[in-house]
Symmetry: C2
Subunit: 463 residues, 2 copies
């Protein structure tokens, strides 16, 4: 039995940051992490020669002030994402190479459709109260509609629908029919500044969500936190039970029992729902935990001698809806050498790809790259694949979403503490929901909550 002020469940960025802030406030903490590694849905692997690969969340951008604050705290510099050269869009097997934000060569009709779709979404985001989108005037209407349904009714060109689906629902890595329109708007709005809002941030490389990366990858940020936490962090401890009583909480993993005043649960909803809570959580939270599934995603990092696409005038960014290489993006380190190409396979395509054996999977992905970037793409040095769908303690990737009808019914339960059980995780963040920055914000918010709660209790006891 370990006795501490606070317990934190999960050592992704939400949990690590919460624990860091609590320790910095002079409190004792125990962090229980189910895996044998930290990072959650980020995961940086560093080779002996110093080359690093981000196998999970990797990019950062303007407005993500809290991750920049952590980077400053630990002296981690950023470097800009390689964005020079043309991008590529593959529609029905045909490649469209383009500069700027939209593939004008595709078809003026399709591109106009994409533009109008984005403008509509931008407009809807503007009226959304960020802290409580479920209270928007149009919330009921937007929440009973799936993104797939909205696209079908409002965007006439099929290639345009596919592009918008990838742009708007990419992070959920599932069919657009699964995602509530209101949830998509929530996430888009959470990424904008208070005046602009909307999807431009999400779809933009430069100045957007793929603007830059930390030198050394996400691991360069989480490793110093781990060092700071010392033996407060316990790996390979999947939490099975959380009990609460009048005086505190008892958190049990397979090997440890932690007694604390309060606990912060930072793991994805679908996984949080499999913990045994004693007494049970309030009905709204229990039902919400059943209602925020993860998606299917495989992230593959392929190492080449050099970033040959750059010499060919290509940025390395490409999109091909429904294929085994749904998205590609240049993922070189700050030195630009060797060449690292990141391939993201999403949704249905990821589930299909996962059913193949490893050799066939590799052939399918590399085949796509050869088709897009030429024969040089076949001459790879290393192939690293990370199937987030089968990460037991992530419950899928990239992030969770709400299906239709859930936010208007249960949105209020996203952040509300249940007695001594508090919640963090990027999905609970009103700002930068779905990004690493949102995870960090949620951890800091939850740390403030538990600190305020014990201060109130202490004050009440002395008056």
């Amino acid at each position: 039995m370990t006795d501490v002020d606070f317990c934190v469940v999960g050592a992704g960025f939400a949990g690590l940051t919460a624990a860091l802030r609590l320790k910095q406030a002079g409190r004792s903490v125990a962090v229980l992490e189910a895996r044998d590694r930290v990072g959650g849905r980020t995961f940086t692997v560093t080779r002996d020669d110093g080359l690093w690969i981000d196998r999970g969340g990797a990019w950062i951008g303007p407005g993500q002030d809290r991750i920049y604050a952590l980077m400053q705290e630990f002296g981690v510099p950023e470097y800009k994402q390689h964005n020079d050269g043309d991008a590529m869009m593959v529609v029905d097997g045909k490649k469209h190479r383009y500069g700027g934000k939209l593939p004008w060569t595709m078809s003026p009709w399709a591109v106009a459709n994409v533009g109008m779709g984005l403008m509509s979404v931008e407009q809807m985001c503007k009226s959304l109260p960020r802290e409580a989108p479920w209270e928007a005037k149009e919330a009921a209407e937007w929440d009973r509609m799936s993104l797939g349904d909205w696209l079908e009714r409002n965007v006439l060109s099929r290639p345009a629908r596919e592009m918008l689906d990838m742009a708007l629902a990419g992070p959920y890595t599932c069919a657009p029919a699964e995602v509530s329109m209101l949830w998509m708007l929530l996430q888009m709005a959470s990424a904008g500044s208070s005046t602009i809002g909307g999807p431009s941030f999400v779809i933009s490389g430069k100045g957007g969500a793929q603007d830059a990366r930390p030198v050394g990858g996400m691991g360069a940020i989480y490793r110093p936190i781990v060092a700071h936490l010392g033996d407060a962090l316990q790996l390979s401890q999947p939490v099975r039970q959380i009990g609460q009583d009048a005086d505190g909480v008892t958190v049990r993993s397979d090997g440890l029992t932690v007694r604390a005043q309060r606990v912060i649960v930072t793991i994805p909803m679908a996984i949080a729902g499999s913990i045994d809570y004693e007494p049970m959580l309030p009905a709204d939270r229990t039902l919400l935990n059943q209602r925020m599934p993860g998606g299917a995603i495989i992230k593959t990092s392929i190492i080449y001698d050099e970033a040959f696409w750059r010499a060919d005038g290509l940025s390395g960014q490409s999109a091909a809806p429904g294929t085994p290489a749904t998205l590609t993006i240049d993922a070189c380190t700050d030195t630009g050498n060797p060449g690292i190409m990141c391939v993201i396979t999403e949704g249905v395509a990821a589930r299909q790809l996962a059913r193949l054996d490893e050799a066939d999977r590799k052939a399918a992905v590399v085949g796509q790259l050869v088709d897009r970037f030429g024969d040089k793409a076949a001459r790879l040095l290393e192939y690293h694949e990370q199937n987030w769908t089968t990460e037991r303690y992530s419950g899928g990737g990239m992030i969770s979403h709400t299906p239709t009808g859930v936010l208007t019914e249960y949105g209020h339960a996203l952040r509300a503490p249940c007695g001594r059980v508090h919640w963090a995780g990027t999905e609970s963040s009103a700002t930068m929901c779905g990004w690493v920055d949102g995870a960090i914000r949620s951890g800091e918010r939850a740390a403030s909550e538990v600190l305020a709660a014990v201060t109130e209790t202490a004050t009440a006891a002395t008056t």
Copy 2:
């Protein structure tokens, strides 16, 4: 360590029937049930004087051949539901008393809307392939639309929408915006005969889903099965882990370890998802388990000296969308004495009602009954409430649903065995999905599956 031919997880009707059929086939079985009782989402309480109350699933109807077969097997007679007298519909606080199927006094416009809505649904059901509705020509269209969205777009009268919501989405006990149109159609179609299909069965008392009840309640059927199973049934054994290897499965609860050739998991998806599978289930099943939430429902049984509403020419059936007594129905035993009124509180109303303390909850429900049935409704003898939402091992009630986009993506995983792990439960039944009869069918289907699998293995071994 118990060594048996087959293990069954859950002792609701699906699990009990599966185990019964396996024992009858001469196999050894271990049934692990998490609760200290059997019955799952059915639960019959019998007083010392013999009076019984069904606190969960209760009614049966034509076409439910497999529950009738079990009743015949164990000599349980049926009795017809009391259906004489007028029903009542409460809209915006105004009571409409009516005979027949629809409240014509309400407003011809609203009633016409209800009729047209039901006809549309009936029509859609006809083209649905019952075993695989996700393969229907219109599947993608119907699955990306929520029932709430469909009602909003196709039914112009608000009271009509509310009535249709109750009729069509009642069993999911959540907002209509949460339910995929295709799932609702699947359930409706599963209830009809192969030629008619559709919602008439669901909304009908006489000749429909509330046509009759077993004398003695559901317990009169499950108790003889329990007796037959003897010590093969183990209560208070929540299963935490299911491992499978080349030779069999290892099922671990808090207190027991069972080794078997195969296991049948019969518990609701949201609960099945919290078991630790080793190795992990295939991605499609893992993700499906995250995508079939339960709803909120409180079922209250109120005992009176006599069924006073009958003397007043009322059937006892009433519907009042959004109120603490969403539905009422005469729930007397076969003797008709004493009077038992069943009150069902669904969805948002159930979650609101659950937040009150017990006295206020009782006052709210009884207040509704007084308003509908007069002062006699206040003179109650006993008040029994069953909040299925907080049943830890049901994960909510009445049954699970799929949100939009799930059936077309994951429907194929509803029944597909995952190696040595087989699936049952009413939601997995292509016929009478959502009823006790569907649970029984699913248990019998899963029992056939595991028997066939070991026969194949035995044959392969000898040839």
